[in-house]
């Protein structure tokens, strides 16, 4: 069952239905996550490796530790680490980490497992910031307003404008 699905409406908007993964699946993924090999560098309270940092190199062509060229596409470790910084700077606005294994919404509680925000009730949250990995190496930002039930998409590549149906299909693939 897809985590996030959508279908176009006549008004040009997309109606989304959230179906969240079961908790046992999150737990399994969480266990898998901790079986990853030890990383080289820890920043904030998350994992940011030297290879992650090399993806921030402006020219996008620095050697990383594996001897390959960094492509310039920002890695998920950078997205995650920077959102942790945002979470510290703006503690009233929770976010869902890009990896579903680290945060999820369940039973009315927004739980950021890696942090200390586990007792934040969904009713108290006005906005969720969700960085989403869409398609090939493309990041967009979805700002979910829980009160108006609107998801505002910040897409720097105009994917919605160019090909809406393909965009929604990509969302389905990512969260299926």
């Amino acid at each position: 069952m897809p985590f996030l699905a959508g279908e176009p409406t006549s008004a040009g908007h997309f109606t989304l239905h959230f179906t969240l993964p079961p908790e046992y699946l999150i737990g399994d993924l969480w266990e898998l996550y901790f079986q990853m090999p030890e990383q080289e560098f820890w920043a904030v309270d998350g994992l940011v490796t030297y290879d992650d940092l090399s993806t921030l190199a402006p020219d996008g062509a620095r050697l990383n530790t594996t001897g390959r060229l960094a492509s310039g596409f920002v890695s998920i470790g950078i997205i995650d680490g920077f959102f942790r910084l945002l979470n510290m700077a703006f503690p009233r606005y929770p976010y869902i980490a890009p990896s579903a294994m680290r945060a999820y919404v369940s039973q009315g509680i927004i739980a950021n497992i890696s942090g200390d925000r586990i007792n934040l009730f969904a009713e108290d949250v006005s906005q969720l910031l969700v960085p989403m990995f869409v398609g090939n190496n493309h990041w967009i930002l979805a700002v979910c307003n829980a009160k108006t039930m609107r998801i505002r998409v910040y897409d720097s590549y105009e994917a919605l404008k160019n090909d809406k149906q393909r965009y929604i299909e990509q969302l389905r693939l990512v969260y299926a």
């Binding site: 239905h17 959230f18 560098f41 904030v44 921030l56 190199a57 979910c144 910040y154 105009e158």
Partner: protein, 97 residues
């Protein structure tokens, strides 16, 4: 709240944001959009300034504090080409390589 499938969410696109000039900057722009959204201000950056913001984000991540820098582009603080490499060398020393 969000885990009831019957409730309908509406998707809308924010059109008034800068568009990337190369295929690799979407992640940086995603982070900048998040920052400006949280600050409640309009995105105040240009696609040509991404090298500046990339360096700045790298420094913030290593420092572990987002408040010590103003995230607005400043030509005076634009580092030269050698600074990117020196930053990475610094990272490498921190990483105990």
């Amino acid at each position: 709240m969000m885990n009831t499938p019957d409730e309908q969410w509406e998707l809308e696109e924010e059109l008034e944001i800068p568009q990337q000039s190369n295929p690799a900057d979407s992640g940086v722009m995603c982070l900048l959009n998040a920052l400006y959204t949280l600050q409640g201000t309009d995105p105040g950056y240009e696609p040509e300034q991404m090298s500046f913001f990339r360096r700045r984000m790298a420094v913030e991540l290593v420092a572990g504090n987002i408040n010590q820098f103003d995230f607005h582009y400043s030509p005076d603080q634009e580092p030269d080409d050698s600074m990117g490499m020196s930053l990475l060398i610094t990272f490498k020393s921190i990483c105990r390589f």
